[in-house]
């Protein structure tokens, strides 16, 4: 008999605002993209590009991950979230921090607005860490997934710390080297430490679950964890202190870890019991395939290939875009429609199950919108990449327009879910059953 008196699941007022803000950020991102086609021709340290990047990683990806994690942590760790209050605070801090940071970058105001934004975000990450670590401490059994998630939260904090130092350095220069040097550190800790580790930690649990598969053993995941963290630590030490030319080696360690994760998923996929793969999972596989591009490019940008300056810069851009607008965005677009419908369904129908005819999570959103969202996303992404690589502003604009269509479809579908209400439930008639 269970002694759990209340559900492990947090209140919907903790989780759902994250999804709402993330969808609006994605919308904002695509609109900003339309007005930034001029920025893609130059250096990646362009105010508009910095705005786009931070709206994408903070308002869109991190916000959505926070919301999803508050719901998923209890599932992955099998215990209650440590504090719902902290979760609400981080949501407020992260959203206000993101808006003020986007404003500061767009108008390139490096003074107090940026300092404030950086502090709000750092406090948000700190509170998030407290919540995640305290939740993990309550977990009845420690798993490799918990390692990934907790470590990724710590890397997020480190990313934020480096970010704060850089924000201060704009007004009070105190860092010994040029700004771009720290930008590389900031970006890679964020990409490999926060996003990659987190996605592996959550994905290793959820993807087999959605496929109804049983992966055997976690040896590959253990190695993936060691390789990625090892590669990242070596990169930091080298980048800050040693300055050797061995960066591709560290990139190789991270890439090897990533490949082990993919091979783990491949193994799981072999044992899957599902017959058909739905749109959300199709998009997830597209995201994993899109990983190949940054996987190749990371070696190009980390080696000293003596490419022409123009090509080098556009490769940097393509690398960044392929991580944030490619892999991370594609994954979120797919996984939103695996997790959010379930969350909404739980809150709307869990008390009625068995007593009334209830719809299923997959009945709560439009599959047509989702299909067109996936198609327009992929088309927009490819056009955008091609435009950046070829330096064609018209192509970038066209890509941005198609991308905006994907964002609108996504936002419409998400808000349809968020505003869903249970109505007209018909009780079952059980014939001779004694109810």
């Amino acid at each position: 008999m269970s002694t759990a008196t209340v559900s492990n699941s947090p209140s919907k007022w903790v989780v759902l605002p994250h999804f709402a803000f993330a969808a609006l950020s994605f919308m904002a991102l695509s609109v900003l993209l339309l007005f930034s086609t001029d920025a893609f021709g130059g250096h990646y340290f362009h105010p508009k590009l910095l705005t786009l990047t931070h709206v994408a990683v903070l308002g869109w990806a991190t916000m959505l991950i926070f919301g999803a994690l508050y719901q998923l942590l209890p599932v992955v760790l099998e215990c209650r979230l440590y504090s719902e209050k902290l979760a609400v605070y981080t949501c407020g801090l992260l959203s206000s921090g993101t808006i003020s940071l986007a404003y500061s970058f767009w108008y390139f105001q490096l003074g107090w607005t940026m300092h404030l934004a950086a502090c709000l975000l750092l406090i948000a990450f700190l509170l998030f860490n407290i919540n995640v670590i305290q939740t993990a401490r309550k977990a009845p059994k420690w798993t490799i997934e918990a390692d990934f998630i907790v470590t990724s939260a710590v890397w997020l904090l480190v990313t934020g710390l480096v970010g704060v130092l850089m924000a201060l350095n704009f007004t009070y220069p105190f860092l010994p080297q040029e700004h771009v040097h720290y930008l590389k550190l900031h970006a890679h800790i964020g990409m490999a430490g926060w996003f990659l580790l987190l996605i592996i930690g959550v994905g290793a649990k959820l993807i087999p679950m959605f496929l109804l598969a049983h992966p055997q053993g976690t040896r590959k995941l253990n190695w993936a964890y060691n390789l990625i963290n090892g590669g990242l630590l070596l990169f930091i030490v080298d980048h800050m202190l040693l300055h050797t030319g061995w960066l591709p080696l560290y990139a190789g360690l991270v890439a090897a870890g990533l490949l082990l994760f993919l091979s783990y998923l491949q193994e799981a996929r072999k044992t899957m019991q599902r017959k058909e793969v739905d749109l959300g999972m199709q998009q997830t596989f597209v995201a994993l395939a899109l990983l190949l591009l940054p996987l190749v490019l990371v070696f190009v940008v980390s080696s000293d290939l003596k490419l022409p300056q123009g090509l080098q810069l556009s490769l940097y851009l393509v690398y960044g875009i392929s991580v944030f607008l490619g892999f991370v965005t594609a994954l979120i677009l797919g996984q939103t429609f695996k997790t959010l419908p379930f969350i909404v369904w739980m809150h709307a129908y869990e008390d009625h199950v068995g007593k009334y005819k209830t719809p299923l999570p997959k009945d709560l959103y439009s599959h047509t919108l989702l299909r067109w969202q996936n198609i327009s996303y992929l088309a927009g992404f490819v056009m955008l990449l091609a435009g950046v690589l070829l330096g064609q502003r018209q192509l970038i604009l066209a890509g941005s327009i198609v991308f905006s269509i994907a964002a609108s479809l996504y936002t419409a579908n998400v808000f349809q879910l968020l505003l869903h209400r249970a109505h007209d439930l018909k009780p079952f008639t059980y014939g001779s059953a004694n109810t």
């Binding site: 492990n8 109804l212 369904w345 299923l360």
Partner: protein, 272 residues
């Protein structure tokens, strides 16, 4: 057959059914064994040592009465019946408890009429939180019950009022982290087997491993709505269903969980 203090009464009865009469003749505490239902629920949970304590006799009484039936006692371990004498001080928790926070359940009539009070007791235990306690009134010290509930994080204290009247108190051991973890995560495999036994012939089987979330939950709760009275639902699941457990409790069901291997969990869900 060799017997010792830790031999289960059910094993003895299985080896030689004549032992039922023999044990029942020790004293009238053991007449319960003649009732087939009580025999089924009690004998499998009680050892010779437990039984001696419940019946207020010594283990030697058992060996003496069973030897003629072909049982031979293993070398004595020095365990004597009265060893766990009830001279334990009243726990502080009970002393400070206000009378209105004491739930009382009298199962003496169930015991005499031969109804298994187990589910009634579990229902009462389900109402316990950190502010109250259950006073169970019966005719003997319910050793097996104390063991089962201990594993679930409940503390117990028994008080012998008279040879035929024992008050046993159960309360939720203060939610230390360990207690909570044990209460929620205890695989309860012994429990599950005992319950399977109790519900033999009245089990509805359901395999939800091939279903995608949340269909396992929908399917289980729908089956529970139509579950015939007195039956239990036996579910094969891929994982311990975190979202389902609180729903079960809200709807008045209890569940025993056994984790067999990764991707395979057995649940026995029954009405309390």
């Amino acid at each position: 057959m060799e017997i010792a203090a830790n031999t289960k009464i059910s094993a003895i009865l299985k080896a030689n059914p004549a032992a039922i009469e023999a044990i029942a003749s020790i004293n009238r505490h053991f007449e319960k064994l003649r009732n087939p239902l009580l025999r089924k629920v009690l004998a499998s949970r009680v050892t010779v040592a437990d039984a001696a304590r419940i019946g207020g006799c010594s283990e030697e009484d058992f060996y003496r009465i069973l030897e003629p039936l072909g049982f031979c006692p293993r070398a004595a371990t020095g365990n004597t019946a009265k060893q766990t004498a009830a001279v334990v001080a009243i726990p502080a928790y009970l002393e400070q408890l206000r009378p209105e926070n004491l739930l009382t359940l009298d199962v003496r009539e169930d015991i005499t009429t031969g109804n298994d009070p187990f589910l009634r007791i579990m229902a009462a235990v389900g109402r316990l939180d950190s502010s109250n306690a259950l006073q169970l009134i019966n005719t003997f010290e319910p050793t097996p019950l104390i063991d089962i509930l201990k594993k679930k994080g409940y503390a117990a204290y028994a008080e012998e009022q008279s040879p035929d009247l024992v008050h046993t108190f159960f309360w939720l051991e203060h939610l230390t982290e360990v207690g909570e973890a044990v209460a929620e995560k205890e695989p309860a495999s012994a429990d599950l087997k005992a319950l399977m036994h109790a519900y033999e012939g009245k089990l509805v089987h359901l395999d939800v491993r091939h279903l995608e979330m949340p269909q396992p939950m929908v399917s289980i709760l729908s089956h529970l709505e139509t579950l015939p009275a007195g039956a239990a639902l036996y579910v094969t699941h891929r994982q311990v269903p975190q979202f389902l457990l609180p729903k079960l409790q809200e709807r008045g069901f209890a569940v025993a969980i056994q984790q067999a291997e990764p991707g395979e969990v057995f649940l026995l869900i029954y009405k309390v």
